[in-house]
Amino acid sequence: MDINTLFAYLIASLIIFARTFAGLLINPYKTVRTQSISGTVSHAVIICLMSLFYFSLAKPTISEIFLATVSAFAMYILTIFGFSILPGDGTFHVRLKRYNATWALSYVPTIIWFYASFYLFLLFPPPRSESMQGVVLSVLFLAFSLSLLAWKGILAYLSIRFSSRVQFYRVLYYIFLYLAVSIPVWILLYNLHIFRVPFV
């Protein structure tokens, strides 16, 4: 692959990613369903690169950037493998391909939150005061954070629903299993000072 082809591929991937991002905002149900059928890999690659760029901004040393990046990628890979092992429609490889396309999209709110919090930390460093401005900023920040968490919850639910193609109760069961395994890992990463808020 020469440099022109690579550049063209990169631009095309970015345009498709922008369209998918708009779709996730406006019509998440249809967008995740379409992505589960297409099984595209480029979104996962773009999100990995955005995560790497974020870590290079937020972490002070090369070793910390490396550790955070490897931990986030390992968690992503283990999550999609874990979900693909669980019973669902299609073979393991088919489910893995679908999860790779859809689970990566559930990281979009996470990445937005991390970038926004990073710049907010620089512009309005904590602690907040109990003045009117402090309370208003805190309410807006918490509402923004909870909105993104809710959006992430919707995308995670849709990812499981369309990748494993299972019914509502089974999706809840899969989410319960995911949290049962992930919460101890998040606490471990928190105690090791790798992530102060889990990279869920």
């Binding site: 905002l25 406006i26 019509n27 998440p28 149900y29 249809k30 369903r33 379409t34 589960s36 059928i37 937020a58 991390f114 919090s117 990073f118 907010l120 930390f121 904590p126 602690p127 907040r128 005061s129 109990e130 402090g134 309370v135 900023l137 805190s138 309410v139 807006l140 920040f141 918490l142 509402a143 923004f144 954070s145 909870l146 909105s147 809710a150 959006w151 919707i154 629903r161 369309f162 193609r165 019914q167 509502f168 109760y169 102060r196 808020v197």
Partner: protein, 78 residues
Amino acid sequence: MRQAKLSAFKKNIQELYIVPPNDLGIPIVTSWYRAINKFFKSMPFLIIVPLTILIFILLALVSQHIIIRLATFIQYGY
């Protein structure tokens, strides 16, 4: 042209039915689920953003201290 439109329509219909509709077992619960679910299928932020702002305004009216502590804790967490 007509054939292309027909095949696109067939593709869309197939895409719609890749998963069977959710059935929660009890008809009234299923109908509630569908009534709530439709708000989250498209434009979920129209519901989510006002709801979250309302939640935290109410919490601020109850205790501003909790809001400040929570925002500070989460902001340190990035």
